[in-house]
Symmetry: C2
């Protein structure tokens, strides 16, 4: 159209003005503007073997914890010029594997994954192939994969410590089936640790493992509350679970914190407005997203060759009235 070769156009669009006359440059730029011409990123990516796209695999967008993580990831991607493909595994390993395959054929430069833990061989083979991949939130035992997670033993201990300090001794924990998922295992570990550290006997009847699906916590908490040996505190290890528990406590006609104390895991903007305002373990979600993305990009730039490393972030406790604290 401008009567020049595509080589010349390429030199101009790529900002490499080396050896191009001002005159030709102006002529071509004018036509570029007229046509609203944009280079095809697909062709560029094919040539450069780089897409500037990363993928993220999450399990639950509804949980504000993940929405916040995602925001950290998105912001960091943007500031580094990456686009983000988001995939929802719904905690199902087959969907996770499918998504990873699609992302790889789409040649994304790297993947951040909240692993379901049921595809360990897959994660391992990716790491071995020097494919940039970062695990977020969950540690994958035995696989040398770059990881960004929060110290869940610590988080759990903070919650239990708080309950103990308020005189609670019959502390129940409700948690989804661990299934090898590190945060869940660690939260149970922290729960036991802190009880033992304080000379309180761990009573297995107070450890409630429920199915990881909507409504299962609600059902279980009903039994817990109607049991003659009712606990004086419940440690709820998940955001969404906490709502079910609250609902059931109210349905039965009990009061938090007078009849039973409650600590939740994951701070949200709603926590302070619940009835009663909820004491929670807060995790640095946005920061986790940021760090995971930075790690991934570093891994991409290192072409996957980099000593794998685990970053462990610190949780904190937000004290409100749901445990009976006078603050």
């Amino acid at each position: 159209m401008a009567g020049v070769s595509k080589t010349t156009v390429s030199r101009i669009t790529s900002g490499n003005f080396e050896y191009v006359t001002e005159e030709t440059k102006a002529k071509v730029l004018k036509i570029i503007k007229e046509l609203d011409y944009k280079p095809n990123a697909l062709a560029q990516s094919l040539k450069h073997m780089k897409t500037n796209v990363v993928g993220i695999l999450l399990s639950n967008l509804q949980n504000p914890f993940w929405a916040t993580v995602l925001e950290g990831v998105e912001d960091t991607c943007r500031s580094h010029g990456y686009s983000l493909i988001i995939c929802n595994s719904n905690e199902e390993s087959q969907i996770e594997a499918d998504h990873i395959e699609v992302l790889r054929t789409k040649q994304v430069d790297g993947i951040i994954v909240n692993p379901t833990m049921k595809n360990k061989l897959l994660y391992e083979s990716l790491v071995n192939k020097k494919y940039p991949i970062v695990a977020i939130n969950r540690k994958v035992d035995g696989v040398p994969i770059e990881t960004v997670a929060v110290d869940n033993v610590k988080g759990s201990m903070l919650a239990i410590q708080h309950l103990l300090s308020l005189g609670k001794r019959k502390i129940a924990i409700i948690i989804y089936q661990p299934d090898g998922i590190s945060p869940r295992l660690e939260r149970i570990e922290g729960y036991k640790n802190e009880l033992i550290n304080n000379g309180v006997k761990v009573d297995d009847d107070f450890i409630h493992i429920v199915e990881d699906k909507k409504g299962s916590a609600k059902e279980r908490v009903r039994k817990i509350l109607l049991d003659p040996n009712r606990p004086d505190a419940i440690f709820s290890t998940n955001n969404m679970m906490t709502l079910e528990i609250l609902e059931e406590i109210k349905a039965i006609g009990l009061k938090v914190p007078d009849d039973i104390a409650l600590v939740g895991y994951d701070e949200t903007v709603w926590s302070q407005h619940l009835d009663p305002p909820l004491t929670t373990v807060k995790q640095p979600a946005y920061q986790m997203g940021e760090i995971a993305t930075e790690s991934l990009i570093a891994l991409i730039n290192a072409k996957g060759i980099r000593q794998s490393h685990t970053t462990l972030l610190e949780p904190s406790l937000i004290v409100r009235r749901s445990c009976g604290s006078k603050i």
Copy 2:
């Protein structure tokens, strides 16, 4: 590697076994498996002029309303074999325009956008170029763009009707600056409509337009509550805003609903657990995501040539105790 041409391999990977011996096929499939070979989607897309990727532009991932919309979009994309690139405009027009440009150069097959409304010319030019694009949640006046939205006049009227039925007459509305954004304009319209329909005079002092940023509603609500002519009900037109309002009402020491009634816009899983349980206008968020995606894919399949159409979904009212209803 298999000693055959790439043509033959292509025939096999694309499932077009026409005129390929069982023998060669088996040989090639074996090697494909050994190498864990996956065709490069970039090259396929370049050839086919189709990426099977769509982009979505949102303004706020933290708001569960959008998280739910996103889930509807993601699920629908997945079931149609599309991947989803997510972009956050943060309600800024320049970022929105930048994202749209990147998405286009990345050759995404179509875009779903919650438009900031400050790039009308851009939306229009895309529609004119037959580029598949769907507006979600907000109507773009004067641009023939495919749109999926909720009836906000109706939503507003439901809320006000409820307050009126409970005897409230001094009803304040707090809303972010409309700036030409249809849901905001419509919510004000619905507010006025319903008051007028019921013979209640519209008092402009009760219409509170605040800046669209964190904390602005909080500041304003303080003034409202301390005013001698304090309203007996507040209609909060945004999820996040509602939390600020609740916080400030409590800070001042007033009670909901005894001292003042409150209706919120957008139902969330938290609404029923707030103190008090919140009456809200519920929007079919997931469905909106689904429909928008279906529309976009239809548009893609029609190569952008299709009569633009607006789908209007129905909101509903979830009655709880925050307005004094005895239910």
